[in-house]
């Protein structure tokens, strides 16, 4: 039956060169920056409006304010109330999203290019002429209030909320609601209008645009709808320094839970990005960044402890987080923690050339995929703006990945794989988790409640 030689994978055809596009940088009359890319395949346009007015500007006790502002800002704007605005969007198949990340306040719209002018008018109305009605505020706040309560029963949500609180002192708006049970009650409509007037409106925005249309058309519409409205100020500086802590295992008891949701991580300063970015990406790849990583091979394919395990870097403007996420059956919680630490330690000691080369190929050869859809290009443009990166960042990154040596990788692993500073959040059955943990780990166990407060048992 076997007529051809199947014993080795076929060799690829000759390499087809794919040059990553470099985004264009334009400026409007008022100096606002536009990161532009023309892609002519389909009549689709994606626009992002970005100002640095994210959750890091939430006042103490008012966590969630940036997100609540984002939730409310498109509930009626310009001449249209919430329902009429929604009807207009739907009538043209437009998709409008507003969100606050840790750093930024972003209004994103996509649709067919024939509606470019309408899309920009809507974004302008939403940002500069929102209605902020009390009834809309009450409705959105109630929705978020219930979401906060709902997420208390979701192990994955709670692991994220608690780890963010442990690492950076508050839940990260990027992942969940940003608010907590107390802060959502404190925020008033006046707080929202103040945040909008003081933090969002006065700033000079950056736009990203990917479209099949020529820039001249985009520029005209941007001028028509934004000139005279846009602010001119630069964002405030906020101290977002995070401290490293000793290895700890924070348990949120979920009695009789058959599985433990596990999220572990530590913060990193932005030096890691500027100095050893590319080498560290390769290290993360081989540790837990893909199907074939050491963690996946160990925890899933050898031991069957989990359905999946992933490690990743989460980038913010001034700092980064390194995170590991998995769910394991309760009795294997302790053994899984040991393996996660052991693999991290092993990476610090030993990376093979072959492994590094695989990691490099995984990261660099798929670069053409990143530019396939308009939505993905819009995300890449946002990455450039939010990270304050050069326009040819992705080309530079490719070169950096190609040139990173084994020595660079081992240096990065030793410098930034801070296993002694890992903070584990374990959401599951407390007794089962503790029973599964070997004695040396128990010294680092801290029980917490769903607000992150330490629980002391008799």
């Amino acid at each position: 039956m076997n007529q051809i030689n199947r014993s080795r994978p076929p060799l690829p055809e000759l390499f087809k060169e794919f040059k990553l596009p470099v985004f264009e940088e334009k400026f409007l009359e008022n100096g606002s920056r536009v990161v532009f890319h023309r892609k002519e395949k389909l009549p689709i346009t994606v626009v992002n409006f970005i100002v640095e007015a994210g959750a890091k500007f939430d006042p103490e006790g008012g966590e969630g304010l940036a997100q609540l502002t984002a939730a409310l800002i498109d509930e009626g704007a310009g001449e249209l109330d919430a329902l009429a605005l929604n009807a207009l969007l739907e009538s043209r198949g437009l998709s409008l999203g507003v969100f606050a990340s840790n750093d930024n306040f972003v209004v994103s719209i996509s649709g067919l290019s024939e509606d470019l002018d309408l899309m920009l008018k809507i974004v302008s109305d939403v940002v500069y002429d929102p209605h902020f009605k009390l009834e809309d505020f009450e409705r959105e706040r109630d929705r978020i209030r219930n979401s906060i309560k709902q997420q208390k029963n979701d192990p994955q949500s709670m692991a994220w909320v608690l780890l963010d609180k442990i690492i950076q002192g508050r839940p990260n708006a990027y992942t969940y609601t940003g608010a907590n049970e107390d802060s959502i009650e404190e925020i008033t409509l006046s707080d929202v209008t103040f945040f909008h007037a003081e933090k969002v409106e006065p700033l000079k925005p950056v736009f990203t645009v990917v479209t099949d249309l020529p820039y001249e058309e985009v520029e005209k519409s941007l001028h028509d709808h934004f000139l005279g409205k846009m602010g001119v100020h630069a964002p405030e500086k906020v101290d977002t320094g995070y401290a490293l802590r000793d290895l700890r295992f924070y348990i949120l008891d979920r009695k009789d839970s058959p599985q433990t949701e596990m999220l572990a991580g530590f913060p990193l300063d932005n030096q890691c990005w500027s100095n050893l970015n590319n080498a560290f990406q390769l290290v993360n790849n081989l540790y837990g960044g893909h199907f074939n990583s050491r963690l996946m091979k160990n925890l899933r394919e050898e031991k069957g402890f989990t359905y999946g395990v992933h490690s990743f870097l989460m980038r913010m403007k001034d700092s980064y987080k390194f995170l590991i996420s998995t769910s394991v059956d309760t009795q294997n919680t302790g053994p899984a923690i040991l393996e996660i630490i052991k693999e991290m330690n092993d990476v610090r000691k030993n990376i093979s050339e072959e492994e590094l080369e695989f990691s490099r190929h995984k990261q660099s050869k798929g670069s053409a995929f990143m530019f396939e859809t308009y939505g993905m290009i819009g995300m890449l443009q946002r990455t450039i703006v939010e990270g304050n990166l050069p326009l040819d960042h992705f080309n530079l990154e490719l070169k950096g990945l190609e040139s990173a040596t084994l020595e660079d990788a081992i240096t990065a692993a030793n410098q930034y794989f801070l296993m002694e500073n890992l903070q584990f959040v374990l959401v599951g059955d407390r007794d089962g988790i503790i029973k599964s943990m070997p004695q040396p780990l128990l010294r680092g166990v801290v029980e917490i409640n769903d607000r992150g407060m330490v629980v002391v048992r008799e």
Binding site: N2, E13, L83, R92, D142, Q150, H290, E301, S364
Partner: protein, 421 residues
Amino acid sequence: MIKLDYEKYFLENGLEVILGKDNQNPIVAVNLLYHVGSANEAHRKTGLAHLFEHMMFQGSVNVPKGMHFHFVEETGGSLNANTTFDRTVYFDKLPSTHLELGLWLESDRMGWFLPALVQETLTNQIDVIKNERLERYDNAPYGLGFEKIIRLVYPEGHPYRDPVIGHMKDILATGLEDVREFFTTFYTPANATLVVYGDIEENQTKELIQKYFGEIKGAPKPEPPAIVQPYQLTDTVREVYTDKVFLPKLYFAWPSVVAFTREDIALALASDFLTSSKNSRLHKKFVFTDESLQNISFSNYTGKYHGMNLLTATVKPGFDPLEMEKEIIGELNKAIRSEVTTEEMDRIKYNYKVQAIYNLQSVNAIASRMNEYNFYTGDPDHMSAILDTIASITAEEMLSVVQKYTTENYARLLIAPGGNK
């Protein structure tokens, strides 16, 4: 603009092949759909189709365990698989210079999977799936809702009565012989369709497909499950399940129709009319105006052999879920007997056109859709036909279809707070 060019043909062993060319980027999608899902499973063998989604990555004669991932990821490509009631799909997205690699990998596990099958990998993947089930269903809020509502709406023996992932006791009891028999029956060339879409040269691609798949031995196509004849529930059935949740959630289900029929498309339009946006009738009433629900969703959950209309609603604090049941059913009946404005109907229809254009962006998405459309309708470019059907469906027709399939009797599940799961 929305029309896709393709070529469809069969190999001698029965493998169906669909090719499409798109040279915009140097990327190719290899999408292999096996015409087997959980609907094909025997009684007390639930989860086998999904188990295969895992086992097919556990090695074949020339591709050792783990190396499928390795080979694809080494090219910068991506891969995965998924299983539904009806079918199992394996997909690889690769730089187009590595097309031959994708065909080698997929053909090796189609032709040479069984000799590499060992108990060790089966035991390992059963453990993995046990954890998958815990993570996604047993230990997740409302995670068992779908599993419970299908048991209420579908009778004993119905092909969609069991969850795709399978029941835990069946998963744990799966043996090597079950796997062998399932593979021999369902993982045959005649029971599969291969779509290759992207940056290809057609003649060369055909030669490669013949080279790698042509020598795999053919076998008769297995008998599919029978299409379920339309039926209605004779009584309203209600069940309450307590779970670790904060808000009660209601599930209502009615038996409906098979996928991609005119009635199915009318029901899809109805789901937009009822719940898909702020202005949709039920959302506007309960989420926006009354603020009695956190969310509401109506969907037509259909397949090759049957389907159901599923309405779900999460009830806010201060509202009695049993009272809300009456309100929701009352409002549903009111909405589907009301006048639909031209603007409402135009909005709904226009969104399908826009979505169809959006769906043309990625070769993986196009390959996947071609395979789905072909599996359900025999036409890989069925999007054009769907858009024509949508254009011809009037508001009156949409309402009459949704009236027909949301009858007086229904299955109702209430997931109530208080459980200890």
